[in-house]
Symmetry: C2
Subunit: 300 residues, 2 copies
């Protein structure tokens, strides 16, 4: 038997991980725990970058991305640019059982979800709509760059049977172009897990994270024998430098990494909060702040 563990990006994952911890404590599966935790974030209107209440695209529509990966079979399911779907993570999990057609986008994904009976919902909350109208006005009046806010919930779960799963869900870049897909539903970039090794998930500017396939790279380094601590921050540092050289600047990048024994670490080039829960240790929220070349982590 293993000791269960979970790690999730951003403090918004607290309530979901808290509930899901009970599932793992009782011997439930990593898949059930990760799905439950992410649904909790999707359902909460207070979080402006995931699910209901997520900030809309430049046309004022909420388009959502989500993915699910099974660390035992390497099965993946993902949806991108889906509208009116209450819980994209559940659609992604369902797709992860498919041999073909496991990544569906746009109308096709919505059609699949309807045929499978997944719950529909208008995902634009009144608050998100107000934010949109305000931002649109600011962009026009102050000639601002429209893009802002892109926090994905990514959660890695390890259950008592040693199974590992990773899931992600996001509304993507605020004011994104319709149909834009970031790293969150992209295997290797937004997520990767192999339960014989470990898992990883990223959040930040998807367009930049994708260029490094950072979640895959983190798991690969674990396979070589490095610990999460030896991987997470060095990987973000190296890759940020590479992007600075190649394109002048690196966007926000944060990564969570957990190995098959529940050892974890994070890496980031911006202020980044995250949540960890482990058997016998309970749950905690942490804040990582970048201070020059050093990243300091403290419990909050």
């Amino acid at each position: 038997m293993k000791k269960w563990a979970m790690i999730g990006t951003w403090k918004m994952s607290y309530d979901g991980i808290d509930k899901a911890s009970a599932v793992l404590e009782e011997g439930g599966s990593a898949g059930d725990a990760v799905e439950l935790a992410i649904r909790q974030v999707e359902d909460c209107p207070d979080f402006t970058s995931v699910g209901f209440g997520g900030l809309p695209n430049e046309l004022g529509e909420v388009e959502l991305d989500a993915a699910y990966m099974n660390g035992k079979t390497l099965g993946i399911g993902a949806v991108a640019a889906v509208k009116d779907c209450k819980n994209p993570i559940s659609i992604a999990r369902d797709l992860s059982n498919e041999k073909f057609n496991c990544f569906l986008v746009g109308e096709g994904a919505e059609r699949f979800a309807s045929l499978k009976g997944f719950e529909k919902k208008n995902m634009l909350s009144p608050e998100a709509n107000d934010q949109y109208e305000k931002r649109k006005k600011e962009i026009i009046e102050e000639n601002l760059s429209p893009y802002d806010g892109h926090d994905t919930v990514g959660i890695i779960g390890l259950d008592k049977n040693g199974h590992m799963v990773v899931g992600t869900s996001t509304s993507g870049l605020f004011m994104k172009k319709p149909g834009r897909v970031g790293d969150s539903p992209i295997i290797g970039s937004g997520f990767y897990v192999d339960e014989k090794i470990g898992g990883a998930s990223c959040t930040g500017l998807g367009e930049d994270i994708m260029k490094g396939c950072l979640s895959y790279e983190a798991v690969r380094r674990m396979e070589e024998g490095l610990s999460p601590k030896e991987i997470a921050q060095p990987l973000v540092d190296e890759f940020s430098k590479k992007l600075e050289k190649r394109q002048g600047k690196a966007g926000a990048i944060s990564i969570i990494v957990m190995d098959k024994n529940g050892n974890w670490a994070i890496g980031t080039n911006v202020e980044f909060s995250f949540v960890v829960a482990r058997e016998l240790e309970g749950i905690g929220t942490y804040l990582a702040s970048v201070d020059g070349n050093r990243v300091k982590i403290h419990k909050i």
Copy 2:
């Protein structure tokens, strides 16, 4: 100055690579050469897995995926599940210059293409429609698995200035579900290039290729100092075995790999044709056949 080189998946890439070779010979850019070569394949109605004439999804609609990566900047552009766009590769190339919103899918991608003035076209050829009707009948009458045919054109180009680019284009799995996305537009899976190292592109069952981030992994191994020959076939062999263990079976996987000096190799677990053109050597089409545990390659 470097010696230019190109490699492309499947013999359908011959005419495009032949034309694009002249561009590289005259000192033209890898980007122009790769785009030209792929447009040639997209425009030809004889190829049933790319562009015009590509086989449709289960609703009889041709949905196309394409991607472009710039090996200098690591800039990527991709579209997935786009209808009625004559040359998806050109849209992908255009998107590769964007800092945000570089991967667009479905209606959003079509909207972007329209606004940017890209040519529209009904991509369903009469022949592809006949194939669709025939297959639909067979599936119903003989209770066959619908999925068949999934050949992506993937082309890596190296120009005299040492710049490298990779592009992909496909209509995906024949009879796929609407909105299905394979590996072709997914960075790290369908393609990857870093011109300080080399590039790679995959074709085959996208759902399986994605699970290994095979194009990224090939380039990473080149960065470690391995040659394309030491990478390509071993990578496909290793990963096919891994999939057999984890999910019982591995789908078709083929990879082309080229380093920054134009040295190339391929790896495959099925019969696979490809085209290579190099400065001073001219162009050739090759066929790789799997014979037990060995892959034999001969010029055709």
